[in-house]
Each structure stands twice: as C-alpha cells, then as structure tokens.
Symmetry: C2
Subunit: 203 residues, 2 copies
Amino acid sequence: MDDAEALPDKTPRTARGRRTLRKLLDAAAVEFGEKGFHEASISSITRRAEVALGTFYTYFDSKDALFRALVGDMSEAVKVSARDALSDDMGALEIERAALAAFLSFAREHREIYRIIDEAEFVDPASYRDHYETIAARIAKRLKEGADAGELREGLGETEAWAMMGMNVFVGLRYAVWSDGDPDEIASRVNALIARGIAAEPD
Amino acid sequence: MDDAEALPDKTPRTARGRRTLRKLLDAAAVEFGEKGFHEASISSITRRAEVALGTFYTYFDSKDALFRALVGDMSEAVKVSARDALSDDMGALEIERAALAAFLSFAREHREIYRIIDEAEFVDPASYRDHYETIAARIAKRLKEGADAGELREGLGETEAWAMMGMNVFVGLRYAVWSDGDPDEIASRVNALIARGIAAEPD
C-alpha cells in the first residue's frame, strides 16, 4: 500500500508510527480473516495489536477505512512476494511459473487473504476491482514484454491476462487455502498448460 | 437443483407448486443480487414473487434455506446452459470453447450470479465449495474424455480443471459482468490459450 494514498492526512511520519500502523494492519488481517468484516470490531483489533483504542484514530477514521487500507496492503504484499521470486535472467514463461509458485506459498502462509479480498466485493467494491485490475495490468505488461522478446506469441493482451489471473486465483483457492498442494508442482502444471496448451501433440 | 435434495420434506408435488417454487427462486435471485443476503428479506421476496408470505414457509424454512436452494439452482442453470450449447459432433477443444461462450452469455443475462455465488462463501460456505467442486469435476471429466479420444494430452486432471474454471470465472467477471464483451470473441481467445498456449511458435 502507498500509505500516502490510503491515508491522505494520517500517514505516520516516524518509524514508531509506521510500526504501530503495521501492527494494526497485521491485527486487522487476523480479525477480518477470522470474523469477517461485520463481526470484526475496532476494539478487538486494537487489543490484538496491543495498541490503545484511542491510538487507532490517529491512523484510521473508521473500520471501513482500515479495511480499505488492508486490501491495499495485501495487494502490495502479493506484488512484493511475486517480485522477490523473479530474477533478471528468467524467460517469460519461467517468470509466470515463479510468480505463481510465490503466490501459492504466500497464500498458504496468509490463507485469510482470500476471505478478505473476496469480502471486499461487498464491503468495498472499488478496492476489490482495483485489486484485480492492477494484477491483470501487471500480467498484461509481462505478456507484452515476452512477446517483444520473441518468447511469447504476438497479440496477447488483457483477455489472456484475466484468464491467467483467474487460473492462479482458483488453483490458489484449491491448493493453498483448501488443501496443501506443493506450490512448485502446481505451478509447473499450470505453466505447462499456458506454455503449450492442452491439445495432444500432433503425431 | 435437485429439489428433492435441497428441500427434503418440502418438494412441491404439483405443477402449480413447482411454478410457485420457480417464482420464489427467481424473485430471490433479484433480491439477493440487488441487496445482498443480509439486507434481503423474505417479505420483499414474496412481494416480488407475488406469493403470499405464508406460502413461503410451504417451500422453505428460512432465508438461509432459500439462499442455499438458490445457489444450487444457479449451479444447475449454469450446467444446463453449457450443456445446451454442446453437440455430439464437437471435438474436445470446441466443447470448451462452446461451454465458455454459453457461460459468458448466461452471465451477461444473469449478472447477479456472481454476487450470489461469491456471497455464498460467507453465507453458506458448503454451497460455495460444492458449486466449484462440481464444475471442476465436470471439466476434469471432459479433459479425460478428450485425452481418451486422442485429442488432448494425457495426464490432464484436477489441477488443469481448476485452472480452466478460474479462467472462465475471471473472464466472465471482466467481460460479462463488468463490461459487455463479445462472448464468441472472448471464448475464442481463451480457447486459443488453452489449445496452444502462449509460447511463441518455434521458427
């Protein structure tokens, strides 16, 4: 999350303030993940974060504002975890494989992300839409770079980006949240699908 | 929906009863789609359905029971709309293309389905899971049949089925619910992705 964007007038200016904000966001992830938005309470979140109730309002105006900031924070965390798994020497297909494996590992460690992002569809539809549009735009950019490098087909774009994002989200739900699949094995299978498709090889 | 399964002791036995049940389900789709589960009310649903409030309880014990039946009814409608688009002379890849095009057309006409299925994750998690597990099993079965016919690669299974379902769900969200894409064009692009992948053709 770009703090300055999410909290126009409440951005912490000190390291201590940033640590407190971090504690509030981490506590909010647990609270919203366990209870859902409507049952979650600010007082329970500040208790989890070991932060005084009054301090909360230094950072956020409301439970809604905290939820919105949390969705942005999770989008950023997904982005960073994927980026950290990539290196400059990877080809276009290897980048997609590594990004998915990193996402699956991230989702296993942060299973609450699905519930929180999915609940954003109802609690904060603009954040929900922004989350997916941002990821799709990132994938579309990688597809274009891969085509420019001659590694991927020409003409891939937004439709393929949304399709690939959907694949990643659903295999994450199935194999990271609902069960413990091996991230590398799942990512390799999905990568084979996008690399060469499902058609039989011509004889 | 298998009425007998969803409504063990309240299955309508007459044609008139089945028409009333249909009116209640259709009204529920509009009500839950517009207001969400928590704001929706039985009295508003019976008003929309032009059914007496007391009649509701001939069919359902509660708002929860109606919601559960509606999710099952929508799963069934998705299945029927895909099945009606298929014919015996289609190859395995053409089947996937036609099934997706049918789903996109269905979702354009029934945009509320996304909100209702997605809300099931919170209101009725078992129905949510069942909805997707049933669809994935159907896709996995088609992949096996395609491999048996020599049209698709051997070894495709559950992982590929979840990946393909995710593609379909997300392109539906993007191009049927959030905007009006051409179902045939979108389905053809996604079909090219699953048919031959995104890698550049070898020179």
